[in-house]
Every structure is written in structure tokens, then in C-alpha cells.
Symmetry: C2
Subunit: 516 residues, 2 copies
């Protein structure tokens, strides 16, 4: 075993050649070497691989490169055998299985490096835009099969394209890992998620075992194995477990919080000793709220916005500097912060017509603020934000803040005690923490404590392909999480009401924010 092997799923093994003194069978000899390399009490070798061992071992002079993996019980398994000096690519496929978007990344199993990446819309969108719509679709005839086929075929088609770009064959992919929410992973596994949305909200499985890619219909190497990240429950999926792995929360002495705002807001608080989690599905307003106005980032979409406090002129930045066509999540938060700072909205988030000037109009009995007039927009129409949009944003940010307050409070912590605040997801990547603090969406921590960690679900999924140690961590992370149901009780509602102001009714909590 070369030194670099020790922390990869590819192991180069040299077997003692058989002799009259040591006449162990070929497979058992190989297993012994792999057990040592993988540090597992057993290594399973499938019947198909078994057949190839005697001739290969003799042809390769009792040396080989082996791709190995584990199952949930900690049992090792041999996945692939290659000649000891083979130049053949030995790859893994990390899958971030989002409700909206799916990201694939090819990982070099020998080095842990990334060979390429691709993003595509989850083809299940054709059936329903969100988790709930898709779960309802399962009740229709062949609904489950259709949803399963859509995602499996989607992954297959995109994997083929990605492999071409990376100049490898699909049969070079020996391992895959999938991090997604509980509903999405159920649909990929062909499992019926119908009981997840009915009290008491029971998934089919929390800890799916490692399966063959072929059993899932995935066109990789015929012997390839797939790890589907475990979930804590219907509302706390493998994507979050991957996120925790990605930011090493489970190994840090200091307490950190991880917030992932996607379709839901999911929050984990903890350190190497304990972890507490909750999900924003229980939040009354957050769901879909932040993103309702927003469009997916793309050319012409407003991602940064500021307002000159003197002239009240809007300073707008669009992606690729194209004429403005819409506004994305980070832009909406920037906008709300700017409107608040310049007193164009009041502390309730209501538009103040006299500060809006001719940007204000009433449409369908609802106040509107024009961000970009028709003659300068990319759509030929006014780009507006309505009072309803702003109200929705206020509810969303209040829900987010309330969730954060509730979870820290549940363990007797002050938000100020948080050592690190990890923000995950596309939303986290672009959000300006100053703006988010200004509107009171996130606590008023020193800015250096905020860390945007990008696609942490993909990060965790690729890490387990690069670092075998992460395999066991995934399952111990899952087992150490205490999931807290967010009860929308009087206490929660009181907190929520107090957070429905900019930045908060208790302004002392936001010393860095100057209320205009």
C-alpha cells in the first residue's frame, strides 16, 4: 500500500503469493489484504468478482489496485479490481439531488480531485414544482414509477454528457454518493413517500444501505455501489447531513450553526459533542417566501441593489451587466435593507409613499414600487416590487429569525455565543450578511463569524468519495442529531410577531443597525 492509498477508496495491495506453507484461497488472501487496508473486520467479494480473482492475481503477480467501499453495518466490500499499474481512471460520482436542481460532480477516487461538474433542473419539475406536489403525484397511477424514471433517466443522461466532457467512460464510475432531502432520495430509491406528509410523518427508511447502482437503474460500472445519505426524518434529509460533514461541525469544539435556505430553511446547531436540528417546514411563512419574488440567478437578474441616502437613486447591479429582467434572492434582501436604511419602508416594512416619489403606484389596490422603469428594463415592462412581496419577505425573515432564536434558546445559548454561522446553498453564496442583518433575518454577529460554504450538500457528497473516514462520520452524525419539532405554539408566535419588524422590536439585539 502506498502512503497516499491509506485515505482513499482505491487501495493498492500486494498479496503474499501462495505456497505450501500458506495455502489460503485466493479470495481469502485478497480479503485479508483488503481488511487490513480498509480496517474492517470483513470485506465482501461478490460472486462475479470472485470468478475473476485467480487468473487476475496470477497475471498481475499478486498485486492489484482495488476500489473498495463499505456498507452501513461497517462491512467492507470489493467493488472493482484493476491492474496494479493501470492508468485507467477510477472515479466516483457525487450527486446533490435537489428538488429544483441537481448537481453532478466526478471525483477521482485515487487523488480525491474533481474532474468535472454539471448542473441541471430536476426533471421531476415537469410533474410538480415542489416536494408536496410530487408526493401527491405518487397517488396517481404509475405516479411513483414516473417520478423515479424521470430522475434516474435524468441522472443517466447528464452523467453520460459529463463523462464525455471529462473524457472518461461511464464504466469508470465505481462509486456514487447521493445527498438530497428525504423525499427526493425516496423517489430515487423508488420508495413511496406518501406517509411522509401524513401525521406522524414517517419515511420508508432513515438509513438506506449501500446498494448497487444497477439496482437503482443507474448506468455506471455494473458493479458500482451507491451510498444514499441517511436522513433524520421526513423533514431533515441527507443533504443536511452532507452539509454538516462538509463544514466539519461534528468535529469542532466550538458551537456553530449551519443554515441552509433552499425550498425550506433547515438549521443545525452544535459541535463535536451534540447537534440539534430543526427545519423551517414548520415555520408559517418562510416556505417559498423568500424565493417567491426571486428568480433563479442568470443574465440580467438583479443581484445587488443600493439606494443613495441623499438622492434616493437606485444603484442596480445585474448579472453580466445585462438590462434588468428580475431579481434574485440575494437582491431582494439587499433591496429590503436599502429600502429600510433610506426610510422608503418603515419598521413594519410598509412602503412610505412620500419617500417613494414617482416610483410609487397603486396597482390592483396594492402599493407598488418601481425598481426599473419599462424603458430601461430587459423585459420592456416596469420591474416592480409590491407591498405583498415585501410583507411576504418580512414574514420569511421573521420566521428565519424565530427559528434561529428558538433553536439557540432550546439549548440555553445566546445567539452571540455562536462561534461560526455557516450559510449554505446558492442563497447563502450570494447573500450579503450586512443586508441580512439589517433586516433582522440573521443575528447581529461580527461579520467574520459568517461563512458562506456554497453547495454543502454536493461538498459532503463528494467528500465521502474522496475520504473514507467520512463514511463512518455520516452515520455517526445522523445518530447524534436531536431533531426538534418546531411547535407553532404561543411562544413561537410571540417571537415571530416580535421579529416581524425591521430589524426587530428589540432593537438592542441589532446594535450595528441604525434605525433611520
Amino acid at each position: 500500500m502506498t502512503p497516499t492509498d491509506s485515505d482513499r477508496w482505491v487501495k493498492t495491495v500486494t498479496l503474499p503469493p501462495p505456497s505450501l506453507e500458506d495455502n489460503t484461497a485466493d479470495a481469502d488472501r485478497l480479503e485479508a489484504a483488503l481488511k487490513k487496508a480498509l480496517k474492517t473486520p470483513t470485506v465482501n467479494i461478490s460472486p462475479d468478482l470472485l470468478k475473476t480473482i485467480p487468473d487476475r492475481m496470477r497475471a498481475w503477480n499478486f498485486r492489484a489496485k482495488a476500489v473498495v467501499f463499505k456498507d452501513v453495518s461497517g462491512r467492507g466490500m470489493l467493488v472493482h479490481l484493476a491492474p496494479p499499474d493501470a492508468a485507467e481512471a477510477l472515479c466516483g460520482l457525487a450527486i446533490d439531488l435537489g428538488t429544483t436542481r441537481v448537481v453532478l460532480r466526478i471525483v477521482d477516487l485515487s487523488t480525491g480531485g474533481h474532474l468535472g461538474e454539471t448542473v441541471f433542473d430536476n426533471p421531476q419539475i415537469a410533474v410538480g414544482p415542489d416536494v408536496l406536489a410530487r408526493i401527491h403525484h405518487v397517488e396517481t397511477p404509475e405516479g411513483l414509477e414516473r417520478l423515479n424514471r424521470l430522475i434516474v433517466e435524468g441522472i443517466n443522461a447528464e452523467t453520460e454528457r459529463l463523462c464525455e466532457r471529462c473524457a472518461i467512460g461511464r464504466e469508470s464510475i465505481h462509486l456514487a454518493s447521493v445527498a438530497g432531502n428525504t423525499a427526493m432520495t425516496h423517489l430515487l430509491l423508488g420508495l413511496n413517500p406518501r406517509w411522509m406528509i401524513r401525521e406522524p410523518y414517517i419515511p420508508v427508511v432513515n438509513r438506506p444501505d449501500v446498494v448497487r447502482a444497477a439496482e437503482l437503474g443507474l448506468d455506471l460500472h455494473p458493479q458500482a455501489r451507491v451510498l444514499v445519505f441517511p436522513n433524520v426524518g421526513s423533514y431533515f434529509g441527507g443533504d443536511l447531513i452532507a452539509g454538516i460533514l462538509h463544514c466539519d461541525m461534528d468535529q469542532r469544539e466550538e458551537t456553530a450553526i449551519l443554515v441552509d435556505v433552499g425550498t425550506n430553511a433547515e438549521v443545525v446547531l452544535g459541535n463535536r459533542h451534540w447537534m440539534m436540528a430543526c427545519a423551517g417546514a414548520a415555520g408559517p411563512a418562510l416556505e417559498g417566501g423568500v424565493t417567491r419574488m426571486g428568480t433563479t440567478a442568470g443574465p440580467g437578474v438583479i443581484d445587488r441593489i443600493a439606494i443613495d441616502p441623499e438622492t434616493l437613486e437606485f444603484q442596480i447591479h445585474t448579472i453580466e451587466d445585462q438590462p434588468p429582467r428580475g431579481i434574485c434572492g440575494s437582491g431582494v434582501i439587499d433591496l429590503a435593507a436599502a429600502l429600510f436604511r433610506s426610510a422608503v419602508v418603515d419598521i413594519r416594512g410598509k412602503l412610505v409613499p412620500e419617500r417613494c416619489g414617482d416610483r410609487f403606484s397603486m396597482r390592483d389596490e396594492l402599493g407598488h414600487l418601481t425598481l426599473v422603469p419599462a424603458n430601461r428594463s430587459g423585459t420592456g415592462e416596469d420591474l416592480c416590487i409590491s407591498q405583498a412581496d415585501l410583507d411576504s419577505l418580512i414574514r420569511s425573515k421573521a420566521a428565519m429569525y424565530t427559528i434561529l432564536e428558538t433553536i439557540t434558546d432550546s439549548v440555553g445559548m445566546q445567539q452571540n455565543d455562536l462561534d461560526t454561522f455557516f450559510v449554505a446553498g446558492t442563497f447563502g453564496a450570494y447573500i450579503d450578511p450586512v443586508s441580512a442583518i439589517t433586516i433582522g433575518m440573521i443575528p447581529d454577529l461580527p461579520l467574520e463569524r459568517y461563512q458562506s460554504i456554497g453547495n454543502s450538500s454536493l461538498g459532503g457528497a463528494s467528500r465521502v468519495l474522496a475520504e473514507p473516514d467520512c463514511f463512518d462520520r455520516i452515520h455517526s452524525i445522523r445518530d447524534s442529531i436531536t431533531y426538534m419539532e418546531l411547535n407553532v405554539n404561543q411562544d413561537f408566535m410571540n417571537r415571530f410577531s416580535a421579529a416581524k419588524f425591521l430589524p426587530h422590536t428589540d432593537t438592542a439585539r441589532f446594535p450595528s443597525v441604525t434605525v433611520p
Copy 2:
């Protein structure tokens, strides 16, 4: 779990129904119950079964009968789910995979009872009569595939017939166990045994993992699992491990010896603390020797023979009292003992013409003794035994005795110290210990220490289907056996020469035998 469940592979489980307080996933809930019932740290549930769990658990009110099994690493697995009050048969198939004959037995997994049994010739006989001929056949094009197909199809066809007789469907068979010698199990697994007969005699695998019946081409329930008994090496197969299990040698405080005379002679000596084994393939004369003259037992075959010491009249018993057509193994040993007692042969086993009278003749320059004249035989020809046959028997019995002497000597024991002498196999079932002692084939122990245990290979194979505890014992038996290579050195040859007399050069070893 009902009390009777605890020691079967069928477990009746009752799950705590899901609630808001306990919202574990259905599969994890079932796994937890099965782990407890099976006493394993994990229980794997295959993707196919996973899909069926939520609806079944709700339809069955969170109760079920589960067929479970284990793999070599001790991981549990769910094999089948049935309604809690189902009357459906839940069966296992025990296979004694002999080189010459294959025996199948259907075991009721719920009770451990036997539903039926069948015996058939190993269809690979068409390719070659013995292990060596079959291994050589593997070198021919498609040879391995042909041998594999012959045995798989043979088992399938006979299983179908046996199931019909037992009034069950093949899909009622959820578990199977296979005990056979190393070459036969390799051919069933489709593994190339070519390196087994070349120095240093390496099998492909010593401890095959539990596999799906479907992967082997066996037509049982689609989810059925197969345990192939492990082997100690090329010359000590799973049939012997099954034999040890069958007679509980691994659990006895007293030292016993187990002798299985089939195509080879295999011997295990030991108790719950240690086991020492060797196989008679290394014996120079035993191979084929005892059985060369013998024919398979059947109507008209001589199975008992005695000689009146006064008149020298032969008293012959044939199976079903038909006219004599041949002589089987036990008959040959009876014959040799009778010839020796009546001084028709001398202590070297040579025919004494003056004692043979007109039964003696020279044919092809070789002395012959007529057992049954043509006019009374079932074949219309004289039934004879030649001096060459007798010489061969002497070599065989000498080899057997030498092996027994060598193995007891290797651990510093006297043969008299043996508490129990288990004789396995068809041969063991019919042999008269008094005759075998008389010719010095086996040691002169009190008769009550001899125990004929019949088809111990089948016995062990069916026991592991009836008693889950036996599963782990199989592997610890395998690991605790010290296999002793029988070196045909000067020491062995000296012992062998001393044993080539009736009963032995050292007659003091056989006090019960009167030398005429």
C-alpha cells in the same frame, strides 16, 4: 416474538406503531425489531423488500413474520416478509453436494422439521466420474460453464420434483445451504478449481459469502439466500465442516474422531477446544480402494457375509434377498474379516488355496475366490473376488489405519483415549465395526464408542437451516481447524507397512481379535 421463534430463522415481530413521539422510518423500525430478534448489530433490507414495507406494515397492523439470515460478517439480512398469521410454508433447502450423489432435503424453517428428501446422481458424472476428471474438464472450452450448468440444472429439476411431492412451490424456499467438497462447491459457484490440483493447491475461496440463489441460477424464491459451507482448503471441504456441526464435535468436552469415507477418507479429531484434520487424498492406496470392488448398494447386492468356521460354508445376505449380483463396501469388509477368521486368507491377506477348496481358481494368472457360483448368482456368472481385490483392500485398510494413527499421534493421544468414534457417510452407515476391527481398519475400541451418524453432510446442512446458532458455529469450526498435511514420509510408510497385515503386525493393539 413467540418463544418458539427464538431459535429459528423465522421471526414473528411486532413493531411499536409510529407516533409523533416515535417517528422512526418504517424500515428502521422493522430493522430495530429484527436486530433484537436476530441479535445482530444490523439487519440489511434489500431495495426490493424496502419498497413493500410501508403498505405491508400498515395492512398487517405492524406485525409480520420475517425470514431472516446472516452473512459471513455476522450482518443480519431480511429475506422475506409474510403476514403475521400466514399459513404459507416458509421453507429451506439443504443440499448435500456429493461428487457422486446429491441429496436434497426440504426443511420447515418455522419448526425445523423435515418435509421431504430426494437423492440423485450428480449430473456432472456425464463429464467425469471423479473430482480430478472434472477439474481437468474445466480446461476444455466452455468446460467450467458446462459443469456449472449441469449441477445447477440438476438441482433445479430435482428441487421442482421434490417441491411437488412436498406440496409446496419453489418460491416457498427462502434459504438454502450447500455442503460439499471444495471442488464441488467451486463448480456450483461457477469458480474455476484449476489451481486446486496444482501445487500449492489453492482454492478460489475458503469462505464464500452468503449469496442470492438467483445469482447462482437456482430457481427458488427470487430473494432466497444461499449459504455455501466454507472449506479449510482444497482437500478439506464444507461437507466435513457440516459433519463436525452434525455430530457437535465442536461443543463436546471429550475428544472424538470423525471419519468420513467417501471418494476420499477425511478425518477430524478434536473437541470444543481444538480440532485437527487431515484428508486421505495423501494416503497412497485408500483412494478408490475400498470402493473399487464395491458397487452401490441396491437389490441383489451382498451387504453381509459370514463363513461357517467348521464347514467353511458362506452365509450370504443380499439387499431385498434378491439373487446376488455384486458386493458393496460393507460386504467387502465383512468378507475380508470372515476370510481372515476362517483362515481362508493369511495375515498378509493372501488366499490360502488349501482352505479355499474348489472355490479357488487361477484366472489371468491371478488367484480368485468364488463367492457365488454362476448358477446361483443374479448375473449368470460366477461372483468372484481376486487376490488383486484383496491386496487393494489391505492397502486401503492399512492407509485408513495409518491416517488414524498419524492424526492421534500428532496430538500425543492413544487411539484408546478416543471417547467417541463417529463414522459418517453411506459407508459408515452399513459397515459392521466388528468386521472393520477384525481386519485392523479401525482401532479396537469398545463397540459402544462407535457411532454411525449417516449422511452428516446433509445433517449439518439442514441443521443450519433449522438452528440459527449453527450459522456462527460453522465459521468458528472452520477457523479452529488445524489442517495437517499427510506427508508420505518414511515414518508414514513404516506405519503403513506395519498396518498391511491382518489385523496388524502389532497384534497387541487388537486384543479383541483372535488370530486364527
